[in-house]
């Protein structure tokens, strides 16, 4: 049965009012840079729903794992053989690497660079993701009570995952590298040249190098440059060889080191001072030099 004209008007009026409310909320949130009241509401919702999500995750994870195990059974034998071969190769490489390690340690001491694994970190369990497939966020069961602060780097055993984005006392939201609003200063290990890796909303990342003088080759390791996150954390591997051209930005894809679809436990690096996000967005990273009168005697 169709609604009456009057009723239809009421429904349409309510619909338009709710749309307007949505636009006002979105504008307010953007204008306040997702902080203030909006941040409090996010934190409150996160705190309220965290125990429920945690419980659901504890029930769901084993079930999902069981079914994944069954679906992977066919490929296990082949995978086992491949892994055995890889182990043999890695053992060989390990012997070669051991000799290089002492040299690396010496160089790091000279450059005053500490490897990221030696920095203080807090392990955390991932219990939830964003509420839609457009969201590139994960929620972890550690918060400000555990020494976590906004901006800190989050890693797993493979490499960089993202940064802490919002925070409550017991939980934190991690914004993944794949999010288009995340940019990380990086260095290509092979060439030692720096650039910026940004998310593009898919599984791959984009590397832009503005002053590259040498090409980057497929498989080159991309690590953090130490500008925002601790230096030396693996971000990913160059996916396509790209040439450096004069006056052009070197741009290529990077395969992230972290496996974002399988995040169970992560580590938040708390032993590194993150830059204040507001300071970073509002002012340059390096303060401009104070004005110095070149010839004070003339006055």
């Amino acid at each position: 049965m169709l609604p009456s004209g009057r009723r239809f008007d009421r429904v349409t009026a309510l619909f338009l009012s709710l749309l307007a409310a949505g636009f006002i909320i979105a504008t307010f949130d953007v204008r306040t840079n997702e902080s203030g009241v909006a941040d409090t509401m996010r934190g409150g919702t996160q705190t309220l729903l965290a125990p429920v999500q945690q419980g659901a995750d504890m029930v769901i994870s084993p079930v999902v794992g069981f079914f994944e195990g069954i679906s992977n059974l066919a490929g296990l034998r082949e995978q086992n053989e491949r892994l055995e071969n890889e182990v043999r190769e890695l053992e060989l490489q390990l012997r070669e690497t051991a000799a290089l390690q002492s040299q690396v340690a010496e160089l790091e001491a000279i450059n005053d660079l500490a490897p990221p694994l030696e920095l203080a970190s807090v392990a955390a369990r991932v219990y939830s993701s964003g509420a839609s497939s457009y969201d590139h966020v994960r929620y972890i069961l550690r918060g400000s009570d555990d020494g976590i602060a906004i901006g800190q780097a989050v890693i797993d055993e493979r490499g960089l995952i993202g940064r802490v984005d919002t925070l409550t006392a017991s939980t934190a939201r991690v914004r993944l590298l794949t999010d288009p609003i995340v940019a990380v200063g990086v260095r290509v290990q092979e060439t030692n040249e720096t650039g910026v890796v940004t998310g593009v909303g898919t599984g791959t990342l984009r590397l832009d190098m503005f002053d590259a003088s040498t090409p980057v080759t497929k498989g080159s390791v991309v690590v953090t440059d130490g500008s925002r996150f601790p230096p030396g954390i693996i971000v990913g591997y160059v996916a396509e060889t790209a040439d450096a051209e004069v006056d052009f930005v070197l741009r290529t894809d990077v395969e992230p080191a972290a496996l974002f679809s399988k995040l169970d436990y992560v580590k938040v690096i708390v032993g590194w001072s993150p830059l204040d996000a507001e300071v970073e967005s509002d002012s340059p990273l390096i303060a401009p030099p104070e004005f110095v009168d070149p010839d004070p005697d003339q006055q």
Binding site: A26, A56, V64, A131, S133
Partner: protein, 168 residues
């Protein structure tokens, strides 16, 4: 009283779907895209609610999704309110039949995803310009058509009313 009862049930179902979306479907993401379960729940519940209640449930579901998401507040609220409105308009048509229902769910899910992408882009999230954006527009709609059977069944059982409308 009954309509209020259904509204509370709808809000409960939205909460459950939100928890499932952020836990179960954080792990089950065929082709790296999760189904839009909250959106599907809004469609399922809007069939049985009074039009005003359907819109409010859509807005609330969207707002909760925004609160647990990574983008600006209000974007999913807009998208899901529009989906609830479209569902309210469509449910009165005498088009019962599995194929029509499937097409309806697919179209409404695409509408919701598209609205979110467009409005999100207007608010600076550059969603439309992302590569493979079509995957995020179409795949959740396909998964939603598949998931409609259990979710429509749950909403049918919990919010059953005398008159059958645009439903399975």
């Amino acid at each position: 009283m009954r309509r209020h009862r259904n509204t509370f049930i709808a809000l409960g179902l939205v909460l459950v779907s939100l928890v499932l979306q952020t836990t179960l479907f954080a792990e089950i993401r065929p082709f790296a895209v999760a189904p839009a379960v909250v959106l599907l729940t809004v469609i399922a519940c809007a069939r049985y609610l009074e039009p005003e209640a359907a819109l409010l449930v859509g807005f609330t579901a969207g707002f909760l999704t925004d609160l647990l998401g990574g983008s600006s507040l209000g974007l999913w609220a807009i998208a899901m309110t529009a989906v609830a409105y479209a569902t309210v308009k469509l449910r009165h048509r005498e088009v019962d039949g599995i194929l029509i229902v499937a097409v309806g769910i697919f179209s409404l899910t695409v509408l919701g995803q598209l609205l979110y992408a467009v409005v999100g882009t207007l608010f600076g999230h550059s969603i439309i310009t992302q590569p493979e954006v079509w995957k995020h527009l179409l795949l959740p709609a396909v998964w939603n058509v598949i998931l409609a059977a259990p979710i429509f069944w749950v909403s049918n059982v919990t919010m059953r009313r005398g008159e059958r409308g645009w439903a399975v």
